[in-house]
Symmetry: C2
């Protein structure tokens, strides 16, 4: 951020009075521009013993597999966002959605919210951001070709719950270590 989005003058990175964090503050109109984490919301769409994965057509991680998910938009609920992303990325409808997991990923300022839902009629096809969609059994999941750590953690939790026949709502934190590996804390 270089300029004030309200008045167009220069901003400076300072700690405002009464605050304890650096914020971009306008040198002219003094407005404080807060920056906060974003929510990524998505879905495990189930059909019989299979789930829906999408092969990414866009960066980052083009060509790798993911669950349909994306940034939550203003004026929608979190669950509506998950359903919208599933429709956009896989031309798929989901129903009977339940919140399955919430992951904080502090180093990229994101919170992931992932739902489980029934894939209507088992129908899916690639949206503009996907090269391919596929309905896969557990033994067909391409664990080494998943796009993001959070997707891998979500699917591990999912199959663990599935074996127990009891799905909970999970919360966890994903941390990136200095050597590039990840650790996950579950609560």
């Amino acid at each position: 951020m270089n300029y004030c989005s309200d008045c167009g003058e220069k901003v400076s990175l300072v700690i405002p009075a009464g605050d304890n964090r650096h914020r971009y503050v306008c040198d002219s109109c003094q407005i404080i521009h807060y920056e906060n984490p974003k929510i990524v919301t998505g879905c495990i769409a189930e059909w019989n013993e299979k789930i829906l994965l999408c092969k990414r057509a866009i960066e980052p991680r083009i060509g790798l597999w993911t669950l349909p998910a994306g940034f939550m938009e203003n004026s929608e609920t979190n669950m509506q966002g998950a359903a919208r992303e599933t429709a956009e990325e896989a031309n798929a409808q989901v129903e009977n959605m339940q919140l399955f997991c919430v992951f904080s990923i502090a180093h990229i300022n994101q919170v992931y919210t992932m739902y489980r839902g029934d894939l209507v009629n088992g129908e899916a096809s690639p949206g503009i951001e996907s090269l391919e969609t596929s309905l896969l059994k557990e033994e067909e999941i391409p664990w080494q070709a998943l796009a993001f750590q959070v997707i891998s953690e979500t699917l591990k939790l999912y199959y663990k719950d599935k074996k127990q026949g009891d799905y909970e709502t999970h919360y966890g934190d994903i941390f990136k270590q200095d050597d590039g590996t990840f650790t996950v804390n579950y609560f």
Copy 2:
């Protein structure tokens, strides 16, 4: 938003190519400025049969009661944010935190995440954003003087689960009707 925060030139509200929503796009450098929902995170801090409430010292709803909560910051986890807000608003420490509920409030572009936790030593005192803090039993909750609908809904769920002796993680959507009243959908 009137000006581009990157280059300082004017922005226009248009639907970018390949998108289906209006975004602020810079007339000069063409960068798209996305706006997304914010996360409010907070805590039900428990001490024996009581919970911690704060009387707000700031607008909106100054003088009304709330659970400690506020906007999640970059570079923290969702749970860390809930603990930080509890420390800032009530000089209180919480431990053994569990995610209790997630509420989408689409008309204000917010998602609330509320935790349950143990209030360490039962100690609390007003932070700068609170006029007063209080440890209250269920029959002492000032239901008619709560600051926000989402706080009321959170506490109703909490006492329902408490009676059953079993706390779940809940998800719900809060909608504001044209007449100013609220409806809540639970999933």
